[in-house]
Structure formats: structure tokens, C-alpha cells
């Protein structure tokens, strides 16, 4: 067994890198050698039956040649031996026969161009050939060289025990501890096969070289792979916690700027939800619900902890990503780890290689999930029907006029909807049939360019990368631009014992924030044109309109708004090996984020909506984090015991400052004029500050016996400024155990098809400190009292205590929060039981994990009785949540000749429930006097059960008392059977937690082509479809537009409809929360289809070899959802039920070049 090395960095490899390595090292000649070998094998596999007795060697060769129809070439002098041949063979392979024949003469052979060339194994002899007719041409191919070489891993560390085999022979060797090997008298034109467990096999053409350096790439999903697990690295096979290693190659061409968003569906247990905002929004929840507060994980980028800003990183700079999912693995991060930890390591320069990578892609995107809304005529028709249903006269409806008559048999019949010519003739608003979704949307364009230069030698390495990303969203004017620059370097001194390095990244982004145009396009009436006749904005005018504004105006008037973010993230470190087994490391990292938002309120007139004074708001938020950690690591191997001890401390400080300034009255309305100084009107400003500090000590111990029994324990002692004086520090212990059954004799002997089998168990505690910086304090503020506060109690603290009643009065203080010196972190205690397995030499591999976690002392801000007076609210530790679930991942990879393929499937399930809430908080959650949220997920919906539509008067009469019940109206279940449908008939009617989430990733490569497919889905999730109140009801929002579904609403003639009859008054209170709105939002999305073609140059690397890949990719190709069920999803995209920016269909053309 290879001894464990403390490899510096390793991780998931990127296919592009792999490609470039193969190209630069193997480079030319690979295909020629391959062909050669195939032919050679064919010839040598021929069988021969022959009888030779007492003949000279040359005669024997001639006899074989005539039998096999294969020509033999040789220099005459090597046949001079007196020794005679005695040979008897029956159906013997030619190779075996030749070995038997030639070995006694110290002769060997090679196959070239369908000929077998016989030559001496003795080099001198080979250099002294006798020229013979036609032989000189062949001779140059079988001259021989001595080769010395070195095999390294991708970090430049030597690999020991690597097998080096001369292709087509049995000759070979293995590398020594320095990764070096030497082979004597190797044919100049032969090919070496370099292979090692856990690495991709490589073939290298010798081509006369005597010095070779070979870099092996680790296999994906390999057990030997080293993963970063928190202040240290471990081999994947030694892991005992639940750690997912992200396969970055499957997301490398994703068009999202956010690598976390791109991971959606790839990692079991990681539930990522997202919308189509060009800035790459994504919400990450690892293993279900951990807390009632912030469930987002902690990110560690090159040792710097951060809670946000990952979308500011260039995905191309990421070398590896690991997800620590369970408390036993995440506990080393203590009071911030309970939501899981994502560890990101950025790319370093490679030792011994200089390369330049360029990649670019262009993507067009389309809006293919537009909601189906009514056009002008249809809206008139729907309103007419609603009025008829209500028994009121449609002639009194605003906006529309109707031609209709009453048929004595069938009732009222609409002949024609008369659309007025003018919505408002005075304002010049001519009626139209505007398709608002088309007005606000466009074909989006995403461009991405990346350039990286990397170099390195024994003394150090550097990687410099530049990136530019520009996403012009499918909603007009929205967009996101980002430029990134990164320099990572490392220097090695004292023979590599001292490593000093830095990683620094600067990124600037500029976004035009979403102005809510999608939500407006859903509800603004189509009768409004975009512009008035005079070119102004058309807007709601007169009766029949609500106060929602023209979406085109909103888009246009906000196009100068900017959210600019500057991120500086970097760390510098020093790593010193004091002794062979003892090393210390200090790492100082900083994350700075400055966000500046500029919001312009232009003056406008849009129907009866207007603004007469323009204004500018500028907000600036500065957030700076620094973290300094120091670790000491000692490892020792004694016989079959291996022990690794890590100790460390960490200091983290955060400071955040925000301010905003507002000014009114700008004489010009141009983007260049809107600066604060230019305004002449009212001013206002605001600003707050905050921060926190963490001080931590931690230790970790890994032990393994015979590589079979593994144990690991961690302890972290965390202090936080956010916790009360009585609970300043918390202790977070964890342990985990592993049993590599594959190493047991009975498995090795009887179950040879198994290549990996490991049982894991872990227990641990983690914390969550994500509460307000000031939560522990009793807080007071001076509140002078706003004389214009009309709506509520002024709560002023100023009083003319000395009798004055004008001027500035003396002011006191107002309590706003009560102290809680006992406040402490939330504690999550969890277990994880897992099984890793692999079959058939890891062709089929996977793991399954079952976990439970209990979070107690969840921080809640409790409401208070008014008797307490001012500021009675107080943060308390009180609630508990229980979550359990299963994560499963299965991967199959195989190769058939030139065809290689892999299929990876991940499925996960979780179930969460609130188990405890302080009595005063229970009512803050959905529930009634009989049912509380306890036992349900915090994401549960609470409401009535709509069990259909009243079809007849008899049904109406038979039903319990339900105010507003009538034919065509929704019927709500009388759950408790008391004859009245009231508050107590509500129940928990589904939750936004999915039953399971899954993803299937398929990769195929054949010769120069590669193909990738990715599907992702969510099953058994219920979501409140907030658009349904518009798509199905004319009774709730009077002046808005409605969905096409209203055309199919219930009427006596259309009694099969599940959509209640149209009405203008919601007498039945159908907008109430009920199962009518909570729909099955399960979906399966075909996320990705990609076809690539790889070019490989045939030059030697010294003359500028290159590799190139072009690809075409489609994203979000298809959505499969519930269209038929009782609670089918009635809007197009279950992933985005509300008015969030839609995820577009993307078509990409991309190019990667490596020099």
C-alpha cells in the first residue's frame, strides 16, 4: 500500500486540463502508435503449426514467413550463430513462437508496417548493422535508446510504484520513490504504457527521446483522490463523514456565472433553487431544514470563510469543490457549520508545465415559459361572463361595451365585444392589444471569455487568469457583467520544505436590477398601448384600471439603475515542514465586498400614475471579513497504524457598514447628470454599522489501522461576539468511524467483483450563529418623534421638560430590544450512516447515506405582550427542528474501444418537522387554535381544502354552512363536521419540501466527439402558485388582466371545469389559502445537451502543440410537469411559480483552446 502523502492540493480534474496534458505529453504520433499496435497485435496473434528440425535460424525464419505470409526483415549478421533450430509447434501464437525461437539467440523483434523486423537485444549489435538491400529504410526504426523518466501527479509530486510497460512486449519496470524509472535499450519508435492505480492510463511515444517526464491525471471518482476536508486533506477512501466531491467537469460549460447554481441536481442532498436572474441567484439548502433562520451553508474559499459572494467567482478558476454535509465532517467549522460547508479550492500553476488556456462561448437565450394571459377581446368576454353569472348587467362594466341578447332557451348570449377606440382620448391613449410579455422581453445574449496562463517549476508556480462574463437577460434592460482577475502563486524554498503562497482575486460586477416587469406583464391590461399618441407612456386611466404601471415604462425608467459590486478575496499562507512528519501552516485571508446601488426615480406621467419630482438614491455597503488560522499537523505511520493529528486556532472578524443618500430635484434627466450634487431639492440619508468576531480553537485526529479500520474525531471550541456573556464559548465535538470491508479477507477471497466497500458512521454537533450582531443586547435609540407620522404611534422621546414648546426639545431614549445574556448558538446534533461501494474495478460505484439531525435552541425573536411596554422583543433560544433523510449516488463508467461513457444518478430525500416552539412564538406560524405547526415542516402551508365546485342547488343546500356558497363556487371541506366551514376547518395542505430531488448526468465520448446530457428533477413538492389568483379569478383583483384559464371557467354548460365560475365579487372568499392554490410543483427538466469535438495537434510540445474543443450546447430544453392531476401545476414553469425572472432556453456555441 502506498504510503499516505500530504499532497498539497488535488481534486476533481477538469476535462480541458486533462486534454491539454495528454496533448502536450503524448502529442504527436499517438494515433500512429495506436494503429501500429493494433496491427502488430493482429499479426502476432496469428497461429502457426510448424515442425522445424536442425535448420539454421535464417531457414527457420523463411519457413515461418512462407507459412504465415508475413515478411521478415533482418540484418544478415545477426543470423550468424551456428546454433541450429529445433522447434515443434501446433496452433501456437506467432508471438509465443517467435519468443521461443529468438530468445536463445538474444534476438528480439518488432512489428512495423505488416513486417516483422528481427533485431538483436544487444544494443551494440543493433548499431552495427549490415546494410542490405532495402533494409536501411527500416533500420532507423529499430535503433534503440536508454530511457530515463519521471512520473509525477498533476501537482508535480512524484508517484511511486507506477508501472511502465513497453507496448507490445512484456518488458517494463516500476517507478521508485522519486517517481523515476529507467529502461535500457528501448526501441526508439516504441510506445510506453504508463499506468497506476487510481490514475488514467497514458501511452507515450518514445520517438527517440531519452528523458521523459510524464504527468498522470487522477481518475474521476477515484478512491485515491485527495479531497480537502477542512484545514487538511484526506484521501477519499479514508473519509468517514458524508463528504460529496463535486465533479466540476460536468458543469464547466454551464452558462450561469454562479458555479453553485450550476450544481443544481448534481449532488445528492444539496437542494438548490434558482431563477433566471442574470446575476445567478441561487438558494442552497444542504440536507433539508436545519434551522428556522438562515439555512444557507458556509463557504470556505482557499481557507477564507464566507457566507455569500460565490457568484462573483469565475467557475474556470475553481480546482475542486467539496460539500461537507453531516455534522461529523463539518463540525471542525464549529459554530457556523450546522447548515453544511462547501469548500472551494482555486487552481494553481502546474509544476513542470507552461500552458495557456483560452475559452469563450456565446449563448442566445429565449423566454419559453411565458404565462398565458388574455388579449383585449378575451378580457372583455370574460368580464361579460362574470357579470352575467352575477346576474348584473354587463352594460355597466367599465371600458368595454357589448352586443348581447338573451336566448329564451339557453340564456344570455354574447354577440360581440365592442372595444372602445380610446382608452382615454384626452390623454391620447388609443386602445390596443398589447402582448406585454413580448414588449418586455427580448432574445438574451450571454458572452463569456476566459484566459489563463499557468507555469511552474521546482521553485514555484503561478497561475494568472482573466475572465469576462456578460449576460444580457431575456427581460429587456436586465443584465449582469463581470470581470474577474486572479493570481495564484506559490514558492518553494529549502527543497520544498517551506511553501509560501498567495491566492488573490479581484472581481467587479455590474447588474441592472430586475424592476419587477414580469409581474406587471402578467397583470397589466392588454388594452393599454405602450405609448400614447404623443409618444408618452400610456398608463391606467379612468374606471376599470388598477394602479399597476405600464411594464415598458418601468423597464425603461429603471435602465440607468446599477448595482455594482467589487470583490477582493485573497489569502496568503506559509507552510513549513519542521520535521518530516510535522508541519505548521498559517493562513491569512480577506474578503472585501463593496456594493453600490444607484437607483434613479425619473419623473413620469403614465395614465393617472405620475411622479413630478425626480430623485436619486445611492447606497453603499462595505463588508470586510478577515480570517487568520494557524494549524499544526503531525502524522506518523507505525507498522499498520497511521495517526494524523491536527491542532489549530482561528480568528475571524467581520465589519459591515452601509450608508445611503437621497436627493431630489434634478434639472436634467440623463444618466450622466444623476449625481447627488446635481440635485437641488430635499435630501435624506441613512446609515448603519455592524460586525462580529469569532475566536476558535480546534483539533482533529485521524487514525487508521491496516487501512481497514478508520476513526476520526474533532473538537472545536468557538467563541462568538454574538453570544451572551454567560455563553460566550461553545464546544462542538464529533467523531466518525469507518470500516473498509473490502480489505477483509473474506471479501477479497469470495467477493472479487467488489472493488470498494466501506461502512461509515458519524456523530457530531455543529452550531449556527446567524443572528443579528446585536441580539444579546438591551438596545435603546433616541427617537425625536416624527411630526409627520400620521399612521401610528409616534413613540417620540422628546419632551419640553423645562416648559419650552418650540425649538429643539431635549430627547430621551427608547428601548427597542431586551437583553438576553444567556443567548447562545443553535446546536445541531446529527448522525450519518453511510455505505460506499464499488463493483468491477469501480466501473459501478456509489454511496448511500442515511442521516438524522436535531437542531435545538433555535433562535427566535419572540413577540411580547403590550403590558411590557417599549421594546419588549427579545431573541431567545427555543425552537427545535428534526430532519432525517437519505442521499444516494450511483455512477457507472465503462469503455468499449474508442467509446467511453458514464452515467451518474443522484437521488435524495429529506423530511423536516418542527418539534418544539416557545408558546409565545407558535402563533407566528400558520395554524389555528387547535392545530399548530409542531410536527410539520416550517415550509408547510395551512389552509382550507377545496374539494370541488358546487354543481347544483342541492349540493349547495346539503353542504355545511359556508358563507357565500352557491352554484359554481368552490366547496370547502367541513373537516370537523360541525356543520360550519370556519377557521377550525383548516389543515396542513402540503409543503414546499420535495419528497425527493434527483439528477441524471450522462457523458459519452467517442474518438474526437463527446456528448453530455443532464436531467434534473424535483418530485412531490407543493408550491403556492401565486399567479393563480389572476389566472383563475376575476373577482379578486378588479382592474388587472387575467389568465387564459378564465376562458375555461365553470358554467352550467361547462360543468366539467375545475375552475370556479367567473364572478365580479369574491363573496365566497375564494382567495383564502386553500388547496386550490397549493399545486403539485414536481418537475423534470432536461437541463443540458452538449456535443463537443476535440482537435489535437500533431506537433511535438516544444514546437507548440495545441488542443482545441468546440461545442454546441442547449440548456433548459424541456420541462415535464404535472398537467393532468388533481393538483396539477397550472402555470408553465413549476420552478418559478411567481413573478421571478424566468429561466431561459439557452443555445451556446463554445470554444476551448489549450496551448
Amino acid at each position: 500500500m502506498k504510503k499516505i502523502k500530504r499532497l498539497r492540493i488535488c481534486g476533481v480534474n477538469c476535462a480541458m486540463m486533462r486534454l491539454s496534458l495528454v496533448i502536450s505529453l503524448v502529442c504527436c504520433g499517438i494515433s500512429a502508435t495506436w494503429a501500429n499496435k493494433t496491427d502488430a497485435q493482429g499479426i502476432l496473434d496469428k497461429t502457426v503449426t510448424i515442425e522445424i528440425s536442425n535448420e539454421p535460424l535464417s531457414v527457420a525464419i523463411d519457413l515461418i514467413s512462407s507459412k504465415t505470409k508475413i515478411s521478415f526483415n533482418y540484418a544478415g549478421n545477426i543470423m550468424n550463430s551456428e546454433r541450429k533450430v529445433f522447434l515443434s509447434a501446433k496452433n501456437k501464437r506467432l508471438s509465443d513462437l517467435l519468443d521461443e525461437l529468438l530468445n536463445p539467440y538474444s534476438l528480439g523483434y518488432i512489428v512495423f508496417n505488416d513486417k516483422i523486423i528481427i533485431r538483436s537485444n544487444n544494443r551494440q549489435a543493433a548499431y552495427n548493422p549490415v546494410s542490405s538491400d532495402g533494409f536501411m529504410a527500416d533500420l532507423q526504426f529499430y535503433s534503440q535508446v536508454d530511457i530515463r523518466g519521471r512520473v509525477l501527479d498533476k501537482n508535480g509530486d512524484p508517484l511511486e510504484g507506477v508501472s511502465v510497460l513497453i507496448s507490445g512486449t512484456n518488458r517494463g519496470t516500476t517507478t521508485d520513490a522519486l517517481g523515476e524509472f529507467s529502461l535500457k535499450a528501448v526501441d526508439k519508435n516504441s510506445t510506453l504504457i504508463i499506468s497506476n492505480v487510481g490514475y488514467e492510463r497514458q501511452t507515450v511515444a518514445v520517438r527517440g527521446r531519452t528523458e521523459l517526464e510524464i504527468v498522470l491525471e487522477p481518475l474521476d471518482n477515484n478512491l485515491e483522490k485527495v479531497v480537502v476536508t477542512g484545514y487538511q486533506q484526506e484521501r477519499k477512501k479514508d473519509l468517514t463523514g458524508a463528504v460529496s466531491v463535486v465533479n466540476l467537469s460536468s458543469i464547466k460549460d454551464n452558462t450561469s456565472n454562479n458555479s453553485i447554481q450550476a450544481l443544481q441536481g448534481h449532488i445528492p442532498g444539496v437542494f438548490i433553487t434558482s431563477d433566471g436572474n442574470p446575476n445567478g441567484n441561487a438558494t442552497v439548502q444542504i440536507r433539508g431544514i436545519t434551522t428556522l433562520n438562515d439555512n444557507s451553508p458556509l463557504y470556505i474559499v482557499d481557507g477564507v470563510p464566507m457566507k455569500s459572494g460565490i457568484n462573483q467567482f469565475n467557475t474556470n478558476d475553481i480546482e475542486s469543490m467539496q460539500v461537507l454535509k453531516d455534522p461529523s465532517s463539518a463540525s471542525i467549522y464549529g459554530a457556523r457549520a450546522s447548515n453544511g460547508v462547501i469548500i472551494i479550492t482555486t487552481k494553481q500553476g502546474k509544476r513542470g508545465r507552461t500552458s495557456l488556456d483560452f475559452s469563450s462561448s456565446v449563448t442566445a437565450s429565449w423566454y419559453n415559459t411565458k404565462l398565458q394571459v388574455l388579449n383585449t377581446e378575451q378580457r372583455g368576454r370574460v368580464l361579460w361572463q362574470a357579470a352575467i353569472n352575477d346576474g348584473t348587467s354587463p352594460d355597466n362594466l367599465p371600458i368595454y361595451k357589448y352586443q348581447w341578447h338573451t336566448d329564451p332557451n339557453t340564456g344570455p348570449i354574447l354577440d360581440q365585444v365592442i372595444i372602445p377606440t380610446w382608452v382615454d382620448s384626452a390623454a391620447g391613449i388609443r386602445s390596443a392589444d398589447t402582448k406585454w410579455f413580448d414588449v418586455i422581453s427580448r432574445t438574451g445574449l450571454i458572452q463569456s471569455y476566459n484566459l489563463a496562463f499557468s507555469t511552474g517549476n521546482d521553485k514555484g508556480s503561478t497561475r494568472i487568469s482573466l475572465g469576462y462574463y456578460d449576460n444580457k437577460g431575456i427581460i429587456r434592460e436586465t443584465g449582469y457583467k463581470r470581470a474577474t482577475a486572479r493570481v495564484n502563486s506559490e514558492y518553494r524554498l529549502f527543497n520544498g520544505r517551506l511553501k509560501v503562497g498567495e491566492n488573490i482575486s479581484l472581481s467587479g460586477s455590474q447588474a441592472i436590477p430586475d424592476a419587477g416587469a414580469v409581474g406587471l406583464a402578467e397583470i397589466v391590461q392588454p388594452i393599454l398601448p405602450v405609448h400614447t399618441l404623443s409618444g408618452g407612456w400610456a398608463g391606467p386611466s379612468g374606471a376599470g384600471f388598477d394602479d399597476r404601471d405600464n411594464p415598458a415604462r418601468v423597464v425603461d425608467d429603471t435602465k440607468w439603475n446599477r448595482l455594482s459590486i467589487l470583490d477582493l478575496v485573497g489569502n496568503t499562507y506559509l507552510d513549513f515542514s519542521i520535521l518530516k512528519n510535522l508541519s505548521v501552516r498559517t493562513n491569512f485571508g480577506v474578503q472585501y465586498e463593496g456594493a453600490r446601488q444607484k437607483s434613479i426615480d425619473k419623473t413620469f406621467q403614465s395614465g393617472f400614475l405620475s411622479r413630478t419630482i425626480n430623485g436619486l438614491t445611492v447606497q453603499q455597503a462595505d463588508n470586510i471579513n478577515w480570517a487568520w488560522n494557524n494549524t499544526i499537523d503531525y502524522h506518523i505511520r507505525l507498522d499498520e497504524h497511521y495517526l494524523d493529528v491536527l491542532g489549530g486556532m482561528e480568528m475571524i472578524k467581520n465589519n459591515a457598514d452601509t450608508f445611503s443618500a437621497y436627493r431630489e430635484g434634478f434639472a436634467l434627466q440623463t444618466p450622466d447628470y444623476f449625481y447627488l450634487n446635481a440635485g437641488t431639492g430635499n435630501k435624506n440619508n441613512a446609515g448603519i454599522g455592524g460586525g462580529y468576531a469569532l475566536l476558535s480553537y480546534f483539533g482533529k485526529l485521524n487514525y487508521s489501522y491496516k487501512d481497514k479500520y478508520l476513526a476520526s474525531g474533532t473538537l472545536r471550541y468557538d467563541g462568538s461576539s454574538r453570544f451572551g456573556g454567560n455563553n460566550k464559548f461553545g464546544l462542538f465535538p464529533a467523531f466518525s468511524l469507518g470500516w473498509r470491508l473490502i480489505k477483509e479477507n473474506f471479501i477479497e477471497q469470495h467477493l472479487g467483483f467488489l472493488s470498494d466497500l466501506k461502512l461509515r458512521f458519524g456523530w457530531g454537533q455543529t452550531g449556527n450563529q446567524e443572528i443579528s450582531n446585536n441580539a444579546i443586547y438591551a438596545l435603546y435609540i433616541p427617537q425625536y418623534g416624527d411630526p409627520n407620522n400620521v399612521g401610528g404611534i409616534s413613540n417620540g422621546t422628546a419632551y419640553g421638560i423645562s416648559g419650552q414648546d418650540n425649538g429643539t426639545l431635549p430627547s430621551g431614549f427608547l428601548a427597542i430590544q431586551q437583553a438576553n445574556p444567556d443567548l447562545k448558538w443553535e446546536t445541531t446534533t446529527g448522525t450519518n450512516t453511510g455505505l460506499d461501494f464499488g463493483f468491477f474495478n469501480q466501473k459501478l460505484s456509489g454511496s448511500i447515506d442515511y442521516y438524522t439531525k436535531n437542531t435545538k435552541d433555535i433562535l427566535v425573536l419572540s413577540p411580547y405582550a403590550a403590558v411590557i411596554g417599549d421594546g419588549g422583543s427579545q431573541w431567545k433560544n427555543g425552537a427545535s427542528v428534526h430532519t432525517s433523510g437519505i442521499d444516494f449516488i450511483l455512477e457507472y463508467q465503462d469503455r468499449m474501444g474508442d467509446l467511453s461513457y458514464s452515467v451518474t444518478t443522484s437521488i435524495s430525500h429529506y423530511k423536516s418537522r418542527i418539534t418544539r416552539l416557545p408558546a409565545e412564538v407558535v402563533n407566528s406560524y400558520p395554524g389555528n387554535s387547535e392545530k399548530t405547526i409542531l410536527g410539520h415542516s416550517p415550509n408547510a402551508y395551512f389552509g382550507y381544502i377545496a374539494d370541488g365546485i358546487f354543481a347544483s342547488q342541492q349540493e349547495v343546500s346539503n353542504h355545511a354552512m359556508q358563507p357565500g356558497k352557491a352554484i359554481g363556487r368552490l366547496r370547502y371541506s367541513d373537516l370537523n363536521g360541525d356543520g360550519v366551514v370556519d377557521d377550525l376547518d383548516q389543515d396542513y395542505i402540503g409543503s414546499a419540501d420535495p419528497d425527493f430531488i434527483y439528477g441524471v448526468n450522462i457523458g459519452v465520448s467517442y474518438k474526437h466527439f463527446d456528448l453530455a446530457l443532464f436531467f434534473q428533477g424535483v418530485q412531490g413538492i407543493n408550491l403556492y402558485n401565486s399567479y393563480k389568483i389572476y389566472s383563475d379569478f376575476t373577482s379578486v383583483w378588479g382592474g388587472s388582466n387575467y389568465g387564459k384559464r378564465t376562458l375555461d371557467a365553470w358554467t352550467p354548460q361547462n360543468s366539467g371545469s375545475s375552475i370556479p365560475a367567473l364572478t365580479l365579487a369574491d363573496n365566497n372568499n375564494e382567495k383564502r389559502m386553500s388547496t386550490y392554490f397549493v399545486e403539485n410543483a414536481s418537475y423534470l427538466k432536461w437541463r443540458n445537451l452538449q456535443i463537443g469535438y476535440n482537435f489535437r495537434s500533431r506537433q511535438h510540445e516544444s514546437t507548440g502543440g495545441y488542443s482545441m474543443r468546440v461545442y454546441i450546447q442547449a440548456e433548459n430544453l424541456a420541462i415535464f410537469k404535472d398537467n393532468k392531476g388533481v393538483r396539477n401545476f397550472s402555470a408553465p414553469d413549476p420552478e418559478n411559480p411567481s413573478s421571478a425572472l424566468p429561466r431561459p432556453f439557452n443555445l451556446t456555441l463554445g470554444l476551448n483552446i489549450t496551448l
Partner: protein
């Protein structure tokens, strides 16, 4: 050289490990006042001012702390006034002694305001006890 460096290094690391102390976690809330900062004579006086501010110091549209609305409007001393009967409807109810119910929002807000005043007074008295002057 190498050896010295080694000792220097060990010393540095040891220093680092020992250096972290509780002071690092000291933090003062920003932009608000921590209750402990108020125990000075000047600030206690301000607490008293705040207590007085709870008395009849509201904007005229929200006169919850101004007791006359609840008392005098029920007598002959005053009349609700306003734009119409529905302007401040709750007070109209008080005036007419009709539909006066504990659930009236005007009543709730009045009590809320009064208790806020009481809490300010108690807070000021408590802090007064804590200072020695």
C-alpha cells in the same frame, strides 16, 4: 541557519496559539445604545424625559396618549369633531356610548401607549437606583 529558523518558527506558532484571548470578542453595538451605557446621571435624566414624552406627546392624528379623547369626549366637556362621524370613528363610539368594546383598536393602542410610558418610567427609576449621586 536552518535550525534557528526552526526555533523562530516554533516560537511564532506558539505565540500565535497563545495570543487569542477573550478581548477579541468584545463588541459594542453600532448605531444604537447598549442599555449599560445609560447608567450615568445625564442619561438617566434623558430616560425621565422619554417617560414624560409618553404623556400627550402624539401627533394630533394619533392621540392615543392624550387621555382626554377617552375621558373628556364621553362628557360634555368636549366634542370629537373632525371631518365626519367616520373620522376617528372609535371616538364617536365612545362619545355616544355605543358599540364600545374592548376589541376596539383605539382602546388597544391607547393601552399600548400607556404601558410604554410605564415601562419608560420604570426603566428610569431602575437606573436612578443604580447611580450614586
Amino acid at each position: 541557519m536552518m535550525k534557528n529558523l526552526k526555533y523562530l518558527f516554533i516560537f511564532c506558532i506558539a505565540a500565535i496559539f497563545i495570543s487569542g484571548c477573550k478581548k477579541f470578542l468584545d463588541y459594542q453595538p453600532k448605531g444604537t445604545i447598549d442599555g449599560d451605557q445609560l447608567n450615568t446621571p445625564e442619561n438617566v435624566e434623558k430616560m425621565v424625559i422619554a417617560a414624560y414624552a409618553s404623556l400627550g406627546n402624539d401627533h394630533w392624528t394619533v392621540p392615543y396618549e392624550q387621555m382626554w379623547m377617552y375621558g373628556d369626549s364621553r362628557t360634555d366637556d368636549s366634542y370629537k369633531g373632525g371631518g365626519s362621524l367616520s373620522d376617528g370613528n372609535g371616538y364617536n363610539n365612545y362619545q355616544l356610548f355605543s358599540y364600545v368594546q374592548p376589541t376596539l383598536n383605539d382602546a388597544n393602542l391607547m393601552w399600548q401607549a400607556i404601558y410604554a410610558g410605564i415601562s419608560r418610567t420604570n426603566d428610569a427609576l431602575q437606573r436612578l437606583d443604580m447611580i450614586s449621586e
